[in-house]
Symmetry: C2
Subunit: 216 residues, 2 copies
């Protein structure tokens, strides 16, 4: 068990490993090698071994990795072995979509509160949750021990919401609004901006196809 600084790239691969391992586990496959993992996940086996070795000696030479054991270890590293409450701010279409995944995020991470600034939205039900007004954010975040905030509000409001969340004591933010949030260094922000994704995809389109969509 060593402990250099772990790079973000490594941390971002761990959930991908976990997802696939859970899959194997469901299929009752109990051992997997870095080679197999690499094949399925499109990664270099050496990279996978190295990633895992940052956190401990999880494998067995000549054998591979024990699936349930590795799942347990990665869940621990990612802190998914403890309950983590999440607040969702913005009960629009995207917010609705995300709260759907609550079941899917079975683990121990869970959206436990939804907020919206728009009066008529307040009081509405989203699955088992009731949309709360922004005025209750501070207190709810504290009383529920919420540690992560998801921002799905319009861009102009995103920074304000971020400020509120941070003031309430949130530690990390997943931001779906297409803006760069200014936050103190102790708050981790991940951008989940699909317009950026889509626009960078366009770069990779073949050239030359200068329009010939026959309107049929």
């Amino acid at each position: 068990m060593k402990s250099d600084k772990i790079s973000e790239a490594v941390v971002r691969r761990l959930p991908v490993y976990l997802r696939f391992l859970n899959d194997l586990n469901k299929r009752e496959i109990s051992t997997v090698s870095s080679q197999e993992l690499g094949q399925k996940l499109d990664l270099n086996p050496a990279q996978i071994r190295k990633d895992l070795a940052y956190f401990g000696d999880f494998g067995r030479k000549g054998i591979g990795y024990d699936v349930p054991y590795l799942i347990e270890k990665i869940r621990h590293i990612l802190k998914l072995d403890q309950p983590i409450n999440v607040a969702l701010v913005g009960a629009g279409n995207l917010g609705h979509a995300l709260s759907n995944y609550n079941a899917y995020l079975k683990d121990t991470m869970k959206i436990t509160a939804v907020f919206d600034a728009y009066e008529p939205k307040v009081g509405q039900k989203i699955h088992s949750l009731t949309v709360q007004p922004m005025s209750e954010l501070q207190e709810t975040v504290r009383s529920q021990g919420i540690r992560i905030g998801i921002i799905t509000v319009p861009d102009q409001e995103a920074q304000n919401v971020a400020d509120l969340l941070i003031e309430a004591g949130i530690e990390a933010i997943l931001n779906f609004a297409p803006v760069i949030l200014k936050t103190p260094p102790y708050v981790r922000v991940h951008a989940a901006d699909f317009t950026t994704d889509l626009q960078s995809l366009a770069y990779y389109l073949q050239d030359g196809k200068e329009e010939e969509p026959n309107e049929q």
Copy 2:
């Protein structure tokens, strides 16, 4: 205008530059330096200059970059100066949310068709679009010259949908399903999997807070 291979990291930053430049433009600010850009976007000015210089000499020494000119250039690089039609497969909550952004993606990129495998969904309206059955995918993609596909179906169906899109001639995929798609090398895939985002965020939470949410 040089032309090495452009790294993915560079391409992913271009839309971020573009977004901010559009902002400046709206505010009628006509010139910007790499220093200002770097400050606002949390990037190193040298990196910004280098990124842009890959594609040409867009700036002026001692002055900076002309905002409208740089916008035009980046739009061209990203191919956003030509119409790009997009198909959305999966008219669930997430699909709905994304099609909302159609207006926002004002540029020339546009979702022009929505498909769903679930009978009762077919025929429903999403804004100005009508949900079509999967059986029409092939023909619609061809007749509308659709080049990008967005996948918002359940994980088990994602690979099938990808195969269908590719067979229909799509060139790039934005995949919201939490699976690694197997695709031929000429099809570009970007993963937009928010569960992965969220789980990697958990890693950065402070340790030690072993639960004290006072249920109030």
